[in-house]
């Protein structure tokens, strides 16, 4: 497994939508390299025959009756939003044309 470097962190930060300063990228790259190194042994722990576990106590086919349950009013749903207009979330421009 390759070590994580500063360019990786810059790329990941873009994917994760977190702006980072040069200073932050430097620090984060150093810290993450140490952490990634410490978890490396995990990839050698299990053979191909070991199945993956995604949930500790798996339940399948969890259904409920197809009836209308509790719903939030538009006012409730918007109550914590930073900006709204006419019963809708108001967002900045979706396309880069500002």
């Amino acid at each position: 497994m390759a070590a994580i470097n500063r360019d990786d962190v810059a790329h990941l930060a873009r994917l994760a939508h977190i702006e980072m300063s040069d200073q932050e990228l430097d620090r984060m790259a150093g810290e993450l390299a140490v952490i990634v190194d410490s978890v490396k042994s995990v990839s050698q722990a299990a053979g191909d025959d070991v199945p993956a576990t995604s949930h500790p106590i798996p339940l399948s086919n969890v259904f409920r009756e197809d009836v209308v349950g509790h719903t939030f009013t538009a006012e409730q749903a918007l109550s914590g939003a930073p900006d709204s207009d006419d019963n809708r979330f108001k967002v900045p421009a979706i396309l880069d044309e500002a």
Binding site: M1, I4, D8, V9, L12, A13, R14, L15, A16, H17, I18, E19, M20, E24, M28, E31, L32, V34, I35, V36, S38, V39, K40, S41, V42, S43, A45, A46, V50, P51, A52, T53, S54, H55, P56, I57, L59, V62, R64, F72, Q76, A77, S79, G80, A81, P82, D83, F89, V91, P92, A93, I94, L95, D96, E97, A98
Partner: protein, 526 residues
């Protein structure tokens, strides 16, 4: 003064009895706790366990319970055993009528339009909610130092950490600011704070307490559970919050066992208690190890059979956890986008697109540890690394489960120290994320496997006089065993100490100097 101090030192079970007998009212109890919070929580050297104090509503609920009791009749008969007993709620759990911050700037001032299922159940039991407790941001940490609203202090030594992420809940209970609290445990966030504050904390079987309304960090690991000063009190609270909830698709349909009865009829005679070879010894502080051995002696004297088990794959548990947890967290925290909740920060210049607003909002709203985990999770899930990291970690999860399965064929309950050390100093590990992660080495396996765990105080370490915790683990759905064994061990230890361990904690009220700061109000006031 002694009278009120006696009241706050009662266990929840004792308070419930006094309330039912009419010896004290819920308003008196609730007000006494609010006074205690005002006395020890604020100011420069305050415990800082609370982010928000909910005085008005708590007193109203208390008055309602008192009125029902005074009127008598069927409604009074139908009151829950904990009706009128106040409780604090970790600020990761959403509540109507109070802010929920998750310890993050990104949610500062946000009010949930709904209650978590566990909160609904507290309300149905008519338990006054004293307020919301401090935590590491989004429950990411082992010291509560990653809270955006300042660290909580350990009531045993105000210069030390109270554990984390649920340091606020544990410290509130240890400092007699609440008789009970709710916590959440993803890798040890209920049990490790319990250990370092001399309190009791339980991580129930995964899926046995609804997660609906707990702001998710890692959905396959998160579990809400009780925080208290006694084993019986945790059982009482567990009974209130547990049981199936159709709003959580991972909620187990099983009926809840009688945990209170298990705590009351504790008996370890003939029980096989397994020491996990990999979870003590090297890397564990001497005082932690000594108290662990003392407890084993007591259990042996009480008729338990002590066996040794080996869980060889636990050596990979910490690594697997630090791949699975950040992966799930990076996905769960994507919803904080500057559109639907809380903070929106506009970029200083350039085009005002949603992408750039998101980047600026998340940069300003998240703290360092949250950013680290999001980046780490994004890395572990990214193309080319997924199989090596996330995929491998999920296989380790299977191996850890198999280790537990094998161990539980020779032991009814497993036992280990809860945390490798006692409480460290504030700031000591803040710049070393990996050292911080190692605090969870003994608690993480239970989360990976979904099995229940309970931490209770096992004494004070010889070298620093600070509380040590001991952890009991049981097979999934066998939470009752934890209470059965925990209650026995607690009574044996208390007989040895001549009372509860917390009786030996320093007197915070005497230590509080300067004018009393009133805390009633929102966190903005702090």
């Amino acid at each position: 003064m002694t009278e009120t101090h006696e009241l706050i030192r009662l266990s929840a079970a004792e308070l419930a009895e006094k309330l039912a007998a009419g010896e004290v009212t819920s308003v008196e109890v609730t007000q006494t706790y609010l006074d205690r919070i005002a006395e020890v929580d604020g100011g420069e050297r305050g415990v800082n366990a609370f982010l928000h104090v909910n005085a008005e509503e708590a007193l109203a609920v208390a008055a309602e319970v008192d009125a029902i009791r005074a009127a008598g009749g069927a409604e009074a008969e139908a009151l829950h055993v904990l009706a009128g007993v106040p409780i604090a709620v970790k600020d990761l759990i959403v509540t109507i009528g109070q802010p929920t911050t998750a310890g993050s700037k990104i949610l500062e001032g946000w009010h949930s339009p709904y209650d978590a299922t566990v909160v609904e159940r507290l309300r149905a039991a008519k338990m006054p909610i004293l307020g919301k407790t401090n935590l590491d941001e989004f429950a990411m940490g082992s010291s509560t130092e990653h809270s955006a609203f300042g660290p909580t202090r350990n009531p045993w030594d105000l210069d030390r950490i109270p554990g984390g992420s649920g340091g606020g809940s544990a410290a509130a209970v240890a400092a007699f600011e609440a008789p009970l609290a709710l916590g959440t445990d993803t890798g040890g966030s209920i049990r490790q704070p319990g250990a370092v504050t001399g309190t009791v904390g339980v991580k129930p079987t995964y899926g046995s307490v609804s997660r609906y309304g707990a702001i998710a960090m890692a959905s396959s690991l998160d579990q809400i559970g009780p925080v208290s000063r006694t084993v019986l009190d945790s059982a009482l609270l567990h009974q209130v919050i547990g049981g199936h909830d159709p709003r959580d698709s991972t909620s187990l349909p099983d009926p809840l066992a009688d945990l209170v009865a298990a705590a009351k009829t504790g008996n370890v005679e003939g029980m096989r208690i397994g020491i996990i070879k990999e979870l003590h010894g090297e890397g564990y502080q001497a005082g932690v190890e000594n108290r662990f051995n003392d407890s084993l002696e007591l259990l042996k004297e009480a008729g338990a059979e002590i066996v040794e088990v080996s869980c060889p794959n636990f050596q990979y548990a910490l690594g697997a956890y630090y791949l699975i947890m950040p992966s799930e967290a990076s996905s769960n925290l994507a919803k904080f986008d500057g559109v639907r909740y809380g903070l929106r920060v506009l970029p200083e210049d350039g085009p005002m697109t949603i992408e750039r607003v998101m980047g600026a909002t998340r940069a300003a709203g998240f703290g360092d540890e949250v950013k680290r985990r999001i980046i780490l999770g994004t890395y572990a899930l990214s193309a080319g690394y997924y199989d090596a990291y996330y995929g491998s970690a999920q296989k380790v999860r299977t191996l850890v489960q198999r280790d537990f399965d094998a161990a539980f064929t020779v032991a009814d309950v497993l036992i280990s120290p809860t945390a490798p050390t006692t409480a460290f100093r504030l700031g000591e590990k803040l710049d070393d994320p990996l050292a911080m992660y190692l605090n969870d080495v003994a608690t993480i396996p239970a989360n990976l496997a979904g099995v229940p765990g309970l931490s209770l105080p096992s004494g004070l370490a010889d070298e620093d006089g600070l509380p040590v915790g001991i952890q009991l683990l049981a097979p999934a759905r066998e939470d009752a065993r934890l209470y059965r064994v925990g209650a026995v061990l607690e009574s044996l230890l208390e007989a040895k100490w001549g009372g509860p361990l917390l009786a030996q904690a320093p007197d915070l009220a005497a230590a509080a100097s300067g004018p009393v700061e009133t805390l009633v109000g929102s966190q903005e006031a702090k």
